[in-house]
Structure formats: structure tokens, C-alpha cells
């Protein structure tokens, strides 16, 4: 909550930013579009995992599965 741990949302965004940097280095437009779509979903997953001890990367991963489904 900020006292001892960084905000989960900020860490998830940090992971997404890493994906975005990689996609632009790879010059992969498809990957970049997927990361953009991920951003729109990821908060929903974050909310759904509220009660679970979660790794931020896990949140991004689940959001990417969800994106495939939709």
C-alpha cells in the first residue's frame, strides 16, 4: 500500500511498459497492438485477483489469455 510495498498497479504497469519497450525494439507491430489491448484488460484481472497473493507478471499473463479469448 505504499508503506512497505509499492503499488500493485504501478508494478503491473511497469511490466507492461517493459513489454512495450521490447515490442518497439523488435519493431513488431502485432506485438505492440497486443500490448495496447492488454492495457485495456489488465485492470479487470487485477481486480479479480484481489483476494489472491499474486505476482504482477501473472496478472499480465492472465490478461493476455483473456485478450486471446475476446
Amino acid at each position: 500500500m505504499g508503506r512497505t510495498q509499492p503499488s500493485l498497479t504501478a508494478v503491473v504497469d511497469h511490466e507492461l511498459n517493459k513489454f512495450e519497450r521490447v515490442s518497439s525494439r523488435l519493431k513488431d507491430e502485432k506485438l505492440r497492438a497486443r500490448v495496447r489491448a492488454l492495457r485495456r484488460r489488465v485492470r479487470e484481472v487485477e481486480g479479480a485477483l484481489e483476494d489472491e497473493p499474486t505476482d504482477p507478471l501473472e496478472i499480465v499473463l492472465i490478461a493476455s489469455f483473456m485478450d486471446d479469448r475476446n
Binding site: M1, R3, Q5, R36, R39, R43, E46
Partner: protein, 554 residues
């Protein structure tokens, strides 16, 4: 003599009590301090000590022996502070002496009676209180040459230079040589009005000068300390605060903030925003969460913090029917109560107590969401103590009652929306706290969309755009109206970024006015030109973000 107590000045052997109408009474008294010492030192070596008593007190560390020393002159306190560990120094020895004498700030007092206070617990003093606010060309400015005088909350005079008036209490900004008052203060912050500070002085039972311009937590802490002192619970000057040991896993589980249900971006027709009333203070009171009992059994007794907050909650409830501004003054103390519970340097701060409050709050919000969904409502958004739902209006009352029953916390409808729109950031992620909607009757409720540090030009752009939306009763119509108006308004404000008024380019950052010039940002006490490209880009960027919100549709 009788009158309203405006101020009190400690002097050797007593207190000069200043009353309304520039009158004064002298009361003979001594000032109490509480000293911790292993073996009884010879306090009488100090010439100002009039009596010493050994007393047993409770403390965060268990029972403790304190020496209750009475001083003839309060200035001797600093000598004791240098030499010993002191307890109960807040409220000040002056405030403690006043309460002992039954002379309370801003109460009507008859000095010939034993029960001196004549005014009722909820009476506001019938005095003349004035605020002198200063302004410059860009808005509020402590160093500005223009002034406005507010007497008992009403604007009575505007001008340049220095005002002249007589009153009982005055808050001054800048030069106030022409103001004649019993108590004249220059508070550092402008956050609270004089009326709000008088209310806090009444509630905390300390002279105004002790809380004027200080943080909201001071009045709150004083209130809690009064409760502690009544229970003979000693409050140290500096408290040692060590968290109990726990595993990393437990820490991750425990150390979490309020629950946020990220909203579904887009426009939603007919929705209701339900709020838990004073959620965190109510949790502290109903669940009896206090730093001294969070890690050990309370034995069924209400803790110090809950008892203090219970009084404040009751005061706010009563004042709400009397005067909204006074109720708000108490409300801000309640708002601060939760943060101070977790703040390790606060007198009654303990992070475990704070974590327990957020845990209960998260459970309550989850419970509310579950009940709403069970009753056929769709939950659009949830944040800490507030829930926005969509569903049958006839079921709303039943839903609120069931949430109240399940959680033990009060609920109220904060807004009935004709439509509400939740937004996204430029990168596409939904904003937890940036939304706008039209409430029944046509007014707009806007949160987080217009920010304090935006240039006035951008604020104007957003306000004009939102006012277009406010005319529409359906969400889809509002969205279309905004989409239609967006290009022409963007163009208008991009044009203004070159040929507007200097005031358009001002942005306030933490109370300091800035303008972006071609050489960078500068403090806008004097206008020295602006960078039109920066402002045009700002407007275009904002327009792009707004377009993103509008694309989400219904």
C-alpha cells in the same frame, strides 16, 4: 464579568483571559506537567515548582509512574523538557489549566459562577470574526496588494492596501496594521477558514492560537489525548513504535489499501452512487480498533481512538442539522483520523490498527458488491467506500438496508445519475477516479477530470465541453454532443493559446502560480509572456484524451 473567551495568555502565577469586546480577566492558577523519572528528583530545586505528586498511569508500554508537577510559570516547561522525559504535553499545560478552571475557548463564560460555561455544547460564539484574504492578478496570493474582508463569513469590503476594521478575532494575510482585534493571527496555510478553526477550537477545547494554521491532525490528536488523560493513560512526547514481527507473506497479505473495482469505461445511463457514511471512522468505532488494543484484548472496553471518534461522529451528526460548514470542520477531523492511525509519528498511530481498518473496509465493500449483484444490480465502479451501481430504482432502498445490516455501517445515496461516464488514460487503461456524470436535476458531478495544476485555458476547455454534455439527459446523446463540439472547441482553445488573456496561461502548482514561457516555466507574480506552442499542444493532447473517452460509447 461574563463574555466569550477569545484567547488566553499564560503569565507567572496565572492566566490573562481575553474576552470579546477587548475585555480581560486574570485567573490565578498553576500549570500541570507530567515527568517520568526513575527515582524522585528534587523538583523543588526549581523556583517555579509549587507542588509534586507521584501518580500511577497506564501507557503503551504498561503501567508507569509519573510525577505530576505544578508550575507557577509555564515557561519553566522547557527546562524540564531538557532534563526529563515528559508525558501529556499535548494539549498544552495552558489548555489543561483552562479546562481545570472551566474556562473553555469560544464559550460564553461567567467568571462569578462555579460552573462557568453558560453556552450550550453546540452553540457557536456570537462574536465578530474576520478574515482578510489577499489577491493578485492571477487569483489568491498572500503577498497580493488587493484584499477582501470577510466579516462573520460575509464579504464586506474589497480594496487595495491595508484594511481598517475592529473585531474579536482576525485571520490576516499580509499587512494588517489597521485591524484592531483581541486575537490577530497570520496562519501559514489557507486550507481552513477561520470559522472552521473556531469550530475545531471548540471541539478540541484548546485556544485557537494552538491550532491555527496547523495540520488537521493536531486538533484530532488533542481530542484523543483528552480521552487518554481522562483514563489516566499517559501520552509520551516521543513514542517508540516497533511493529510486531511477522512473515513476509503475512506482511504482503496485511499491508493493503482500500479496495478498488476499476470501472468499465464508457457512458452508462441511470446509475446510482452509494457511499458508506464516514466509513473509516465508523469502522474504528464499531470494531473498536485502537493502537493500545489492536494487539491485545480490549476487555470489552472502548479504545481511546474509538471513544474520541465516537464523540466526533456524534458532533458531526448534530452539527449537520445546524450548520453545514461547522459539520464539515468536524468531518475533516474524521477524514484525517484514519491516516493518523497509521502514521507512526502520530501519538495514537499504529500501523497494525490501520491495516485492520482497511481489511474490514475491503470486506465491507466486497460484501456490498455481492449483495448488489444478488439483487440484480450491475456494479459499474467501486472505490474504498463508494459504489456505483446500475439497476432497478425500486430495489435501491432494500439494497442499502441489506448492506447496512450485513456490514453494520451506514449508507447513503451520494448521486443519482441520469448518466455517468468513466474514462481511460491515453494508454488505454481505465482510470479508477476520473469520471463525470449528470445528476438528477441537471447538475454535473465531475471527479478527477479537471485538475488543479492544469492551465486555466485547459480548465476552460474542459468546462465548456462538459457543459455541452450536461444539457443531455441520455448518455448516448451526451457522448454525441461532446463528440460534435470537440473539433470546434479544440480549435477555439488552440487559437486562445496564442491570443488569450495572461490569466488563461496560469497554472497553480501547490499554491504557486506558474506560466510556461518560451524559456521554460516561471513563477507568475509578474506576467512576462508565454509559449503558445506549449499551450496549443496541451489543448490538443487533452482533446485527444477526451476523444478516447468518447469512443467507448454506451
Amino acid at each position: 464579568m461574563r463574555g466569550y473567551v477569545i484567547d488566553a495568555i499564560p503569565v507567572r502565577g496565572g492566566i490573562r483571559v481575553l474576552l470579546d469586546g477587548l475585555r480581560e480577566v486574570f485567573l490565578k492558577t498553576t500549570f500541570p506537567i507530567y515527568v517520568a523519572a526513575e527515582s524522585p528528583p528534587d523538583f523543588y530545586e526549581h523556583p517555579d515548582v509549587t507542588s509534586v505528586e507521584e501518580e500511577e498511569w497506564e501507557s503503551f508500554e504498561g503501567p508507569i509512574k509519573l510525577y505530576h508537577v505544578e508550575l507557577e510559570d509555564v515557561s519553566a516547561l522547557s527546562a524540564f523538557r531538557r532534563k526529563f522525559k515528559l508525558y501529556n504535553t499535548i494539549p498544552s499545560p495552558l489548555a489543561q489549566a483552562l479546562v481545570r478552571l472551566n474556562v473553555l475557548p469560544f464559550r460564553f463564560v461567567d467568571f462569578n459562577e462555579v460552573e462557568r460555561v453558560l453556552s450550550g455544547p453546540n452553540d457557536f460564539p456570537e462574536i465578530r470574526y474576520a478574515e482578510i484574504r489577499r489577491y493578485s492578478w492571477f487569483g489568491p496570493d498572500r503577498r497580493g496588494n488587493r484584499y477582501r474582508v470577510f466579516l462573520n463569513g460575509e464579504l464586506v469590503e474589497e480594496g487595495e492596501g491595508s484594511p481598517r476594521l475592529g473585531c474579536d478575532v482576525a485571520y490576516c494575510e499580509g499587512e494588517c496594521g489597521g485591524v484592531r482585534a483581541v486575537l490577530k493571527l497570520h496562519p501559514r496555510s489557507r486550507d481552513f477558514s477561520l470559522k472552521a478553526d473556531i469550530e475545531r477550537s471548540l471541539v478540541a477545547r484548546v485556544p485557537l492560537r494552538e491550532i491555527a494554521g496547523s495540520s488537521i491532525g493536531k486538533a484530532l490528536t488533542i481530542n484523543e489525548t483528552w480521552v487518554a488523560m481522562r483514563r489516566r493513560f499517559a501520552v509520551p512526547d516521543v513514542k517508540v513504535n516497533v511493529e510486531h514481527p511477522r512473515t513476509l507473506k503475512d506482511l504482503i497479505n496485511d499491508d493493503r489499501a482500500g479496495l478498488i473495482i476499476f470501472p468499465r469505461p464508457g457512458f452508462h445511463d441511470v446509475a446510482y452512487q452509494l457511499d458508506f457514511t464516514s466509513m473509516y471512522p465508523s469502522i474504528i468505532v464499531t470494531r473498536n480498533i485502537s493502537p493500545e488494543n489492536v494487539l491485545r484484548a480490549s476487555g470489552g472496553r472502548l479504545g481511546i481512538v474509538p471513544e474520541a471518534l465516537k464523540g466526533l461522529l456524534e458532533a458531526r451528526r448534530v452539527l449537520k442539522a445546524v450548520d453545514e460548514e461547522r459539520a464539515d470542520a468536524v468531518k475533516f477531523m474524521l477524514v484525517a483520523s484514519f491516516g493518523y492511525l497509521g502514521y507512526r509519528n502520530s501519538k495514537f498511530g499504529r500501523v497494525e490498527a490501520y491495516e485492520e481498518v482497511t481489511r474490514v473496509a475491503r470486506e465491507a465493500l466486497k460484501e456490498a458488491i455481492g449483495l448488489a449483484e444478488k439483487r440484480g444490480f450491475e456494479v459499474l465502479h467501486g472505490i474504498v467506500d463508494s459504489l456505483t451501481v446500475k439497476g432497478p430504482s425500486e430495489g435501491l432502498e432494500g439494497l442499502m438496508r441489506s448492506i447496512e445490516e450485513a456490514t453494520g455501517l451506514g449508507m447513503r445515496v451520494d448521486a443519482e445519475y441520469d448518466w455517468v461516464a468513466f474514462t481511460r488514460g491515453l494508454l488505454g487503461e481505465p482510470h479508477p477516479q476520473r469520471y463525470f456524470g449528470r445528476v438528477r436535476g441537471g447538475a454535473l458531478k465531475v471527479r478527477g477530470v479537471i485538475k488543479a495544476n492544469q492551465p486555466n485555458l485547459v480548465k476552460g476547455f474542459l468546462l465548456e465541453l462538459l457543459s455541452v454534455a450536461s444539457k443531455e439527459v441520455r448518455g448516448e446523446d451526451a457522448r454525441r454532443a461532446m463528440l460534435d463540439a470537440l473539433p470546434s472547441l479544440t480549435e477555439k482553445y488552440v487559437r486562445l493559446s496564442a491570443d488569450g488573456e495572461p490569466l488563461d496561461y496560469v497554472m497553480m502548482v501547490r499554491g504557486v502560480p506558474y506560466v510556461r514561457g518560451v524559456g521554460g516555466f516561471y513563477r507568475a507574480y509578474l506576467y512576462r509572456g508565454h509559449d503558445p506552442v506549449y499551450y496549443a499542444d496541451y489543448v490538443r493532447r487533452t482533446a485527444r484524451e477526451v476523444r478516447g473517452w468518447l469512443e467507448d460509447g454506451i
